[in-house]
């Protein structure tokens, strides 16, 4: 876990687990599920080797793992968990509870399809099941971004008392190898101070507190509104937080972005004819495809919750065609990302289309992207 800004060639799961270890959580609990397993195995190994001193608790289910980190977080500790797919859905009740209790849980989701039919491969249907749970939700394109977003997630979660999930595509990122820089404990400390919640806000006999009280209709909506406001306030501070972290750990993107405020990243011509919008590792494939395309740009959504409607609107304003490419669906309606994008675009006069791709690990290659660009001139929802 040493780092002199040295690039290493690492598996995505190893990159995440080394970063988490250097963030130094107090309590970790998780339940194994493919494709998240390598992360929990690594974290257990670091502890067994004496390289880390967090408490590592075995759980008998994801529901228990999430509840364990809720308890630890409520006692004023920095916590971590990780899951995927069915595991995330089993956690769902706890996920809503965590944001309601204003606990800064941080969790990696190794994105995988939700069954049935059972399928262990990548898509974003697991993440979309928790989009209304009151969590910060970030999506990583590659290993380095996964590393960076973990540190940023802790910073935002602990500052705003809200839980955060970092989405990394199962197998595509968790099981692949890339060049990546792992921040040292020292690097991280420059940006992320030790977690010290104020006395009277967490379980401590020195100042008794009642957490998880019954809220009647008079108080419930106010509390829920506060969560929404705080999540949206993150949009204001995210760009600075992102920049600050980049100063601590500069890492270069192979393709230069025209705009990158942390929340979103845009690569492509100044005034694209067609704008593609996507999240996660597919953005890498799209960038590769657009290398020789002078008319098409790619807008990457890094922060899905809070949703950066303003940033998105600014970039889309002058495009002819917008194609939203997403690895999830909302059966009986348009895709969730499509709905989010379109609801933030009042007055958009161009053509919009929704492309549901890569469900259950279905391969998306450069040809698929080229065909999506061709079909973006027509309003439609299409499965690829």
């Amino acid at each position: 876990m040493k780092n002199n800004l040295k690039t290493q060639f690492l598996e995505g799961s190893r990159a995440v687990s080394l970063t988490v270890a250097n963030i130094q959580p107090d309590v970790i609990s998780a339940y194994p599920i493919t494709p998240q397993t390598h992360i929990v195995e690594d974290l257990a190994k670091f502890k067994a080797q004496g390289k880390a001193n967090y408490e590592y608790l075995l759980a008998e289910s994801e529901f228990a793992a999430a509840s364990i980190v809720v308890g630890a977080s409520a006692t004023g500790s920095r916590v971590y968990s990780t899951t995927s797919s069915q595991g995330l859905l089993l956690m769902m009740e706890v996920l809503y509870n965590a944001s309601g209790l204003r606990l800064p849980l941080v969790m990696t989701i190794a994105n995988r399809a939700v069954g049935g039919p059972i399928n262990i491969w990548n898509d974003h249907s697991d993440a979309m099941a928790m989009r209304d749970a009151g969590w910060i939700m970030l999506f990583a394109e590659n290993h380095q971004e996964a590393v960076d977003l973990h540190v940023i997630a802790y910073k935002l979660a602990e500052e705003f008392n809200l839980p955060a999930a970092i989405n990394i595509d199962g197998f595509i990122l968790t099981h692949s190898f890339e060049s990546v820089i792992i921040p040292s404990k020292k690097d991280i400390k420059k940006y992320l101070p030790a977690y010290k919640p104020a006395l009277g806000t967490y379980l401590n006999p020195e100042r008794p507190v009642t957490l998880g009280a019954l809220f009647t209709p008079d108080h419930f909506w106010l509390e829920k509104r506060r969560i929404d406001e705080d999540l949206k306030n993150i949009l204001q501070v995210f760009p600075k937080n992102y920049k600050d972290w980049k100063k601590v750990l500069p890492s270069e993107s192979p393709i230069k972005a025209l705009l990158d405020d942390g929340l979103v990243e845009y690569c492509g011509p100044k005034n694209p004819e067609t704008l593609l919008i996507a999240m996660g590792s597919i953005v890498g494939t799209i960038k590769e495809c657009l290398k020789k395309d002078k008319k098409t740009g790619i807008l990457k959504i890094r922060s899905y919750r809070p949703f950066p409607a303003k940033s998105v609107k600014k970039i889309i304003a002058n495009c002819k065609n917008v194609a939203i490419i997403e690895k999830a669906m909302s059966s009986g309606a348009n895709g969730p990302l499509y709905s989010d994008v379109m609801s933030s675009l009042s007055g958009f006069k161009g053509v919009s289309s929704n492309h549901i791709v890569g469900l259950g690990g279905r391969d998306i290659n450069i040809e698929t992207i080229k065909n999506i660009i061709k079909s973006a001139k027509r309003t439609q929802t299409k499965f690829w």
Binding site: A59, F63, A64, S67, P205, T210
Partner: protein, 292 residues
């Protein structure tokens, strides 16, 4: 909501809105008498949580958390882990109802006991889902009339046997397992003290008469809880290191007929003589099982 320390005589202060004559709140007071101010409490969803924490008020003078119905056990594990990391010896005590314990939380309780942490689990056993309006739980006794096991022309009430939680606790190798009832406050306090002093996890189950659930008068919770012991249907028990070490069914014990216990409760009033005999057989079996 944070509270000032030592303002009240009990860690569970008056002003809660439980039913008049509630057997659970009375038992909870007996539990509180065993605790010190270096304790963290976890509650499952249920009557105790609802009646003591209507925001922005709270009856709790100790750090207290409620997360969900079924997860008091893993939340307590997380608290224990956080305390361990902080090198604190603070005691951790769970308070849950029988629905949270026997039914929806049982897998999570099993997981907690496997982790072998020093956590005291207290189950206030009202023998039904009291908070939602007296539906049958895994703890509801055979023959009881509840809203989901209604007695009628073709039904004598619940046709399932009460689950044996003590045995389940013992099967996990707990060093301290005990049973008491609301009618014996000192017994409860002593048992909680013993549990707190025992290394590893411990389990205490307290029969807590529910006035609307048992269909008794508001002054009968104590009487019902006493008769449960005197008829041998719910003896006071204590297991230390897996062995029965204390029982109200001792040399001097003379059991009252179960009809004494059943007849004061509306939930059993539909039972025929033959059905009462079956319940008497359960009590007779207890006389042998728990004789010390």
């Amino acid at each position: 909501m944070s509270t000032n320390k030592k303002k009240f005589n009990s860690f569970l202060s008056p002003g809660h809105n439980a039913c008049a004559g509630c057997g659970q709140l009375s038992a909870a007071q007996s539990v509180m008498r065993a605790l010190t101010d270096d304790t963290i409490l976890i509650s499952s969803t249920g009557c105790l949580e609802v009646t003591t924490t209507a925001y922005p008020q709270s009856s709790w003078q100790l750090p207290w958390i409620h997360s969900l119905f079924e997860n008091a056990a893993p939340v307590a594990s997380g608290i224990k882990a956080a305390l361990k990391k902080k090198k604190k010896k603070t005691k951790v005590v769970i308070q849950a109802g029988d629905g949270a314990t026997y039914d929806i939380g049982i897998g999570l309780i099993s997981g907690m006991w496997e982790r072998n942490e020093e956590i005291v689990y207290i189950c206030y056993d009202t023998e039904a889902y009291s908070n939602t309006g007296i539906q049958a739980s895994g703890s509801t006794p055979w023959g009881a009339n509840t809203v989901t096991t209604p007695a009628g022309e073709k039904s004598f009430g619940s046709n399932q046997q009460k689950k044996d939680m003590l045995k389940i606790a013992l099967a996990h190798g707990l060093n301290y397992v005990a049973q008491s009832t609301t009618a014996f406050p000192d017994d409860i306090t002593n048992k909680v003290k013993k549990a707190l002093a025992t290394p590893g996890p411990s389990y205490i189950q307290i029969l807590s008469p529910c006035v609307p659930g048992w269909k008794i008068k508001t002054n009968q919770a104590g009487e019902g809880a006493r008769l449960a012991v005197q008829t041998a249907l719910y003896p006071l028990l204590e297991y230390t290191n897996g062995e029965l070490s204390n029982s109200s069914i001792n040399k001097n014990f003379k059991a009252l007929p179960v009809s004494d216990y059943l007849s004061i409760q509306g939930r059993f009033k539909h039972l025929s003589e033959a059905e009462i005999k079956q319940i008497q057989a359960l009590a007779d079996k207890n006389l042998k099982l728990f004789k010390l």
